[in-house]
């Protein structure tokens, strides 16, 4: 019976992971193999050509859809991801602290606002934000993209951190106050160090949101200048023919951070995935 469960879980895992496996294998196939009309379950004549195309911008295939190196896109995505994480922390950590450890009239209003904000579809924000950024001459800049990507991360971050701060005893804060610490000192020296794991969880999710964002990159950037990896993949798709080797190698590059974080920060990811919604 127990082994039957293992078997069931194994089958489920194969189905869930197969698409990821397929793209990793595909990224090592030659153009001839990819366009041969046959799908190979195992690597067939593996080659690094696609990665060479993608990372150096020189094409090994016969037809090159787009030029340019994806390395620049990786750097752009890293900056956007880190920027989003930083913005989320600066905005969310103090706010979550105030919403859990201070008696404020606005608490219910603000928390309701945050819950509703999570519901608002990004495309609704993207259309208006594009024109607003256009108006204040921020289109095609990092700050614009990071500000927009913050919409994925910040409501979630505040709610998760708030739930965490509730778990810290109020006496901790009161004791610091009695000892004469200012509100800021209490926050900085007593509360922040204890919030380390929750802060990491939030930062990981904010980074992934910024790294994986496509909607805002597509709408707020106009193609000149900065271009994150998600847009790079999209531009390889092409209208009539798809350069599959390049597409898949870039897609694999784009899922590297997720893979790395899954290994390095598994604990934080697992807690973050459930924290926002159930306990929220």
């Amino acid at each position: 019976m127990r082994w039957l469960c293992t078997l069931g879980a194994g089958v489920a895992l194969v189905i869930v992971l197969f698409p990821v496996y397929a793209i990793i294998v595909g990224s090592f196939e030659s153009t001839e193999t990819l366009f041969s009309g046959t799908f190979y379950w195992l690597p067939h004549a593996a080659t690094f050509d696609n990665y060479r195309t993608v990372l150096q911008g020189s094409s090994a295939s016969t037809q090159q859809t787009v030029g340019g190196s994806q390395l620049g896109h990786v750097m752009t995505s890293l900056i956007v991801g880190l920027g989003t994480a930083l913005l989320a922390l600066v905005v969310a950590v103090p706010a979550a602290y105030a919403l859990s450890k201070y008696r404020m009239r606005v608490t219910v209003l603000l928390v309701s606002g945050l819950l509703v904000a999570q519901i608002v579809p990004s495309i609704v924000l993207a259309t208006s934000l594009f024109i607003v950024f256009h108006w204040i001459h921020l289109v095609n800049t990092y700050p614009a993209l990071i500000l927009a990507d913050g919409t994925y991360a910040i409501p979630f971050a505040i709610l998760v951190l708030r739930a965490f701060f509730f778990s810290l005893p109020n006496e901790l804060v009161d004791a610091a106050r009695v000892d004469g610490a200012s509100e800021w000192t209490t926050f900085k020296l007593i509360v922040l160090p204890l919030a380390r794991s929750a802060v990491i969880t939030v930062a990981v999710f904010a980074f992934l949101a910024g790294w994986g964002d496509f909607i805002f990159a597509l709408t707020i950037l106009n193609g000149a200048g900065i271009e994150p990896i998600t847009l790079g993949i999209y531009s390889y798709l092409g209208n009539y023919s798809t350069d599959w080797g390049a597409v898949m190698a870039s897609a694999v590059v784009a899922l590297v951070p997720a893979a790395v974080l899954l290994v390095v920060a598994q604990r934080y990811i697992a807690s973050g995935l459930t924290a926002g919604s159930v306990k929220g």
Partner: protein, 319 residues
């Protein structure tokens, strides 16, 4: 930040205990200030502006001016008279309903499976979240690869099993393309449903389950009469959030079908993008956006109600 520090300390200096209430209020507002400013800029402003845009005669030239001539209901009329928009709205409902149905069934089955004790379950549970961590555009691209007519894994399997003798044109047949975005989205939602339902199942007290066994309840009865009622609040939240995620789906469709062939996979989101950023009819795009926003916000009273315990929670009475 130093300024904040100084203000707080300045307020505290003369008579710390008498002014502590006001000092705390001030500190609280300062801690909240960045978040309030951000919410106003990134949520309130775009939503209000989107409503304004939907009543304006926009053109590529008007973008520079921030406002455009008043148009009354012209944009809404145009959107509701356009067959593609109407189809996109209906399709969004179908897509959302079918996605949630399959995600829930598969997610619940996996959650029950992972609640059993079996070798390798921790390992399996940690890998099941992989689909969730991928950039959505990557998921779209992966499924575009798998659904190719020639050389796609799905046709290969169907041919090998003998279900078809010719390559099925998944992505080129307007009648079939819808199923590709549905399959991809169900795949994408499995980790979310599995994890949330799994963690709810962990919270069902063992004694309750044992009592049901002693009372002679079969597995199906235990599930239906004992477990489901206990985890019902989590099921509601999960379906609600699933609904909200699904009506927002955009990247996946762009990466997989681009809304085609012949607009057969356009959802409200992708068609709104098309109206605003391909045709540059921001007014009509905004009108369709508001339809989407209304659809998403239908859920908000229920979401707030389900989150009421967290909402009403504030600092204890000792302040």
């Amino acid at each position: 930040m130093t300024q904040m520090n100084m203000e707080i300390e300045a307020g505290a200096a003369p008579r710390p205990w008498l002014s502590s209430r006001r000092k705390q209020q001030l500190a609280g507002w300062l801690f909240l200030a960045p978040a309030i400013a951000y919410l106003l800029f990134a949520f309130a402003l775009p939503i209000v502006y989107n409503v304004m845009l939907s009543f304006e005669h926009t053109s590529p030239a008007t973008i520079a001016n921030f406002t455009a001539p008043f148009a009354g209901l012209a944009n809404y009329r145009a959107v509701f008279q356009d067959p593609t928009s109407r189809e996109a709205i209906v399709r969004t409902f179908e897509f959302t309903f079918l996605s949630l149905l399959f995600q829930f069934i598969i997610g619940f089955a996996l959650a029950l499976l992972f609640s059993m004790r079996f070798p390798g379950r921790t390992f399996a549970r940690s890998l099941i979240i992989v689909p969730w961590l991928l950039p959505l555009i990557v998921t779209g691209v992966i499924f575009r690869f798998l659904f190719q007519a020639e050389g796609g894994a799905i046709n290969q399997v169907l041919t090998n099993v003998g279900l078809t003798d010719h390559p099925i044109q998944w992505l080129n047949d307007p009648n079939l393309a819808f199923w590709t975005i549905l399959v991809a989205n169900v795949w994408l939602g499995i980790p979310f449903f599995t994890l949330l339902l799994y963690s709810a199942l962990q919270d069902v007290p063992v004694e309750v389950k044992e009592a049901a066994v002693i009372d002679g309840a079969g597995a199906w009865q235990r599930l239906r009469l004992v477990i489901v009622p206990i985890i019902l609040p989590v099921i509601e939240v999960t379906l609600l959030l699933g609904f909200v995620f699904t009506v927002k789906v955009f990247d996946l469709v762009i990466g997989l079908t681009g809304g085609g062939p012949a607009n057969s996979t356009q959802l409200i989101t992708t068609w709104s993008y098309n109206l605003s950023f391909q045709v540059f009819s921001f007014g009509q795009g905004a009108a369709l956006n508001n339809v989407l926003l209304a659809l998403a916000l239908i859920c908000s009273p229920m979401y707030l109600w389900l989150s009421r315990s967290s909402l009403q929670r504030s600092r204890g009475a000792d302040t």
